[in-house]
């Protein structure tokens, strides 16, 4: 009996294994799997100041590109310098005495940069080109900026301190690159992302 069961099981295993083999299945879930799972939150990063993203991006409705200026013209999206923070906050007296703002001004008076920590960190040999993605999806397709950034960064506008949301593994990148996206909001022409090694790896 057990042998017949073994035979059936191994046959089933072979068939299921073949059917679920990755090359036979485009866009399957395998590439998106990481140790912490799909769409699970990454590790908690302790920042020097718990920057309230929700306050700026959601409540105030500030565009992501206002602070992360590099995203539309370079590889790196840039964490804003302290003078950018001060430029606004020196005119906002109402929150001046809040503990986080006090901390901010402490750094400003000490003339020290804030030692922010990187949250969405890629390996050093990978270069994510923010410019291309922002140009394509924000400037050409006219999608809302929070949606464009949110592909990879998640709903930052509802977070306080940013946490990594997507796995950011190579397979995850590719799972999006293989899809056809419209080239701009006028034409219906679509194309997929590039897939050469040298597009991202340096």
């Amino acid at each position: 009996m057990i042998h017949r069961l073994l035979a059936v099981l191994s046959f089933v295993f072979l068939c299921v294994g073949t059917a679920s083999a990755e090359p036979l299945k485009w866009g399957g879930p395998i590439g998106s799997q990481t140790s912490d799972g799909y769409n699970a939150l990454g590790p908690v990063v302790k920042q020097p100041i718990e920057f309230p993203h929700y306050r700026h991006a959601r409540d105030m409705g500030i565009s992501c590109l206002y602070c992360h200026t590099g995203a539309r013209r370079g590889y790196v999206s840039v964490i804003p310098r302290i003078d950018k923070c001060i430029g606004c906050h020196q005119n906002i007296e109402s929150v001046r005495n809040k503990p986080r703002i006090k901390k901010l001004f402490e750094y400003w008076e000490k003339k020290e940069p804030i030692p922010w920590k990187k949250v969405n960190d890629l390996p050093d040999y990978v270069r994510f080109n923010h410019e291309r993605h922002v140009q394509r999806f924000y400037f050409r397709q006219n999608r809302p900026i929070r949606e464009v950034c949110g592909y990879c960064h998640g709903d930052v506008a509802n977070m306080t301190v940013d946490r990594r949301v997507k796995s950011l593994s190579m397979g995850w990148c590719i799972s999006c690159h293989q899809k056809d996206h419209r080239e701009n909001d006028v034409s219906m022409k679509t194309s997929h992302g590039p897939y050469e090694c040298w597009q991202c790896h340096k």
């Binding site: 042998h3 017949r4 073994l6 035979a7 191994s10 072979l14 073949t18 083999a21 990755e22 090359p23 036979l24 485009w26 590719i174 690159h177 293989q178 997929h192 897939y195 050469e196 090694c197």
Partner: protein
Amino acid sequence: MSKSHMLALFTDFDEASNAIRELKASNLEGFNIKDVTLKSPIEHPEIEELLGKRPVYVQFFTLFGAIFGGLGGFTFISSSQATFLLQPKGGKPVIPIPPDMVLTYELFILFGVYITVLGFFIGAKLPMKRHKLYNARVSEDQIGILIKADDTAMPAIKDLMTRHKALEIIGEGSK
């Protein structure tokens, strides 16, 4: 009707085959030639023939495994070459036939062998627990005939075995 087992050990292989031949011809009630199991230190195709048709299905496993390995192998290789990350390689097509054939051939053999062996384990019912009437001497130099029959037929069989110079007859009860 309760059934019991009996193991007869022989040193003379000719006597053993004669015993089986006679058993087969005897038409005892409560006994079927299918219930005879031969245990021997070496293989005896000639005695196995006497026991009647006991087909081996290993070759069907081999066939399945080889076909699966060959077709599945080629599909696997060529479709993984043609996945989204397809990278053109030095002047060759994305799916080059000769290299894929080499790998297909290897996978054909790999699965052929694996599934043949799987078939062997299934066909020979391995791994199994040894029968309680197993005797270590059948792995040395004696041939053993294990018979399952009705209790009523047992004395006659035992008598037949003794006539054929069985060295020892071990019954279920006598152990």
